[in-house]
Symmetry: none
Subunit: 295 residues, 3 copies
DNA sequence: ATAGGTTTTGTCAAGCTTTTGTACAT
DNA sequence: ATGTACAAAAGCTTGACAAAACCTAT
């Protein structure tokens, strides 16, 4: 590695959008950087340093004090270092367990993961990829329906277990549902968990919810955000007019493979196109920013 | 327990719909309440007091004079005099909680029940009746779809939580599923739990399972019993030929409101017409008898 | 983990939507928070604190007076205090709760764990390690007798609650007991639960059971396995002859720190030297293998 | 039910300190 | 490049205040 230094401070400043003075202050005050020096004494930074500065900025944007942001940026290797192996292995074991209807082993794998990593990581690195892969295998005909059913029910049960109590609390409030005839709700549950982890309160209506009901509850509960998720565009297109009406009742987002920029635009809704965890993060940040700007 | 006081008089008033003045009057005249006091002298009421006020109201509504109503409200021993009271009260609280999307309270009710009674009792006395009633209310149009969805998802999550690990073990093996297009699986899950509680190992395929898949898995796993549950006869009639074929592969039972003696006879299957717990008990007994006779 | 403090009061305010002044007031008046301080004296909050504030808000929304809401937020803790490592965090919280005789909080922690993980994992990763540690702390004189009693009784109550109905069912049958003068039965109960989870039927005789009684029951009930657990060798040595006789009546295993290969050999019994869950798994596997070989 | 006094609790202000980004002299 | 200075933003403590909620007694 050792990536010898090569960037001078001006270039590092340009690349990271941080002033030269500030970079020096961070170095002095928090030891964030420890650049090589040219013969003449110029600081020479490596690519790793760019990463460190970016991490610092991310933590600042997250609201941490500069001192604390620096401390964290320095704690590299970070949370999931060495988790890579565990994750890779767990994915394989999980697929194996499902193939053999071995609930006990599947439970053990998830327990081990949850014990070692954060829920966000488990969702993003194992559960969601597995669901994705399962869908594809099923479409290809490589997975039996029984296997898909068994795995779905298993995962649904575990996710609901993790979500226990998510309907309580004082944070922002999200209302989650799938449109009529939509049965795939696992991604939506995962999204609910990611929101919960960020302080949201969740009301979950789930699979196959009529739009009229959804609109009525949106008016009544006045959630900070309504999210409708579908696995195919048809499910949304079929009720597009109702969705547009729903968007009048509360801030609305569309999610899932079935959502698209066009549909979202027509409905007057936001599109959530990333993975559940990133989108939960984004929604939370936006809400926080909105609250601040209104002050 | 001794659940120290915590509600102030205003909140007690809001919760019971009785004016603050009247509450103080009842305390003074009949000694209906005997709240703790804060350092500054504020009255602090416990959850028990809420129950006592409710009892008082019930007696008043019943036509008793206030003095007499209070005497009786005090007599009833208090919180959960006898199991019957607990069950009755829990049912009401559960219905209340679902009506208000109050997940926390619903969890609290179930936790209390599970702490005090056996799983069988909780299923038979509270969960299954509630599901039944919910179905009827929904059919009558008295419950919103949202409420039904919310409650179903909540109950499904809790039941799966209770069944965690049910796929493992040394006991007899049951394979459970609903036929195509059937979405009501809560009763089937409850049945799985009742079986589990009697030592069975459960493989759960759930809603909307194609018969071809089911038959294939039945041949492969060789379960001691396959149970197919449906909420309307059509779901079963539509695939009657396949069900008959399935009955060749493994001992088969039909369950749910959609099952009938005629259908079972045509399919070559047993009928489970009682509640999940009794039928689980019966199946277990039969299996044991069968094992003995084969010896 | 030790997730040191890192949020300053402004950010905590933004994240929870509570004014800075109010946060300080809650700290001063109710001791709701006890933040670290920067060198200069700024308050530094942890993720757990975010959870505590959220719990406080939830209770306020529920109508409790602020003083009472704070008391509960401290007792019962927050719903989901940040991601992190679930097991590590739960262990700490449990130890905390026991140290403060906070039954409500201990219950909340266990409920969350049981909802999120399988029983096996909760036993192996949290409950048993805690018992072990408590034993050591007590031996060192670091834990008071009162604390040890409180924790033991609490855990015993919860474990028996989980085992409710374990005497029923169709699976293999285990008879569990401790020898005379042995009072430590928590590990044995955990073992019973692990067996139950694998389909066994449990008859539990518990602490301080005379060998004569045990032998009589073994002859009468004809269990598939008898397990005797002791925390010191003396308890077993004192009745070794009787144990050997018991081994004639039914398949016998010795367990607990007091058991050893020598003792087992002398008694004609098997030794269970691993943790309860692994040994339950092993016994179940052996039983299944035995059943198959006899076919 | 009203009147008159008390407690609780969220908010604010004043005066001082710490933290942190930026500026400037050497 | 370095070291120092500076000012805005964010925090700290103490003390006070007023509205809401509650008290007793009539």
């Amino acid at each position: 590695m050792a990536e010898a230094g090569h960037l001078r401070i001006g270039e590092l400043s340009r690349r990271t959008g941080t002033s030269v003075d500030l970079l020096r202050a961070w170095e002095k005050r928090y030891g964030l950087l420890d650049p090589d020096r040219s013969d003449g004494g110029f600081r020479l930074y490596s690519d790793e340093d760019v990463g460190r500065v970016r991490a610092m900025q991310a933590h600042l944007a997250d609201g941490l004090a500069a001192a604390e942001a620096a401390r964290r940026a320095l704690e590299i290797g970070g949370p999931e270092a060495g988790g890579g192996n565990l994750i890779e292995q767990s994915r394989r074991e999980l697929a194996d367990a499902f193939a053999g209807f071995a609930e006990g082993r599947a439970n053990a794998v998830l327990d081990r993961l949850l014990g070692a990593l954060s829920l966000d990581t488990v969702l993003v690195e194992v559960v969601l990829p597995y669901l994705h892969e399962l869908g594809e295998a099923w479409a290809r005909g490589d997975a039996s329906v029984a296997q898909e059913h068994f795995a779905s029910n298993f995962v649904r049960g575990r996710l609901f277990g993790l979500g226990r109590g998510w309907g309580e609390g004082a944070g922002p409030h999200a209302l989650l549902a799938c449109p009529p005839r939509e049965q795939h709700d696992l991604g939506l549950i995962a999204f609910g968990l990611a929101l919960r982890n960020r302080g949201w309160r969740i009301t979950y209506l789930g699979q196959d919810t009529p739009l009229s009901t959804l609109e009525q509850e949106a008016r009544e509960l006045q959630p900070d955000r309504v999210v409708v998720a579908a696995s195919t565009p048809e499910r949304l297109e079929d009720v597009l007019a109702d969705i547009a009406k729903l968007a009048q009742a509360a801030p609305l987002s569309l999610a899932g493979v079935g959502a698209s920029p066009e549909l979202a635009a027509k409905a007057g809704a936001t599109l959530l196109e990333g993975d559940p965890v990133s989108e939960a993060e984004r929604l939370t940040r936006e809400l926080r920013a909105g609250a601040r700007s209104r002050t």
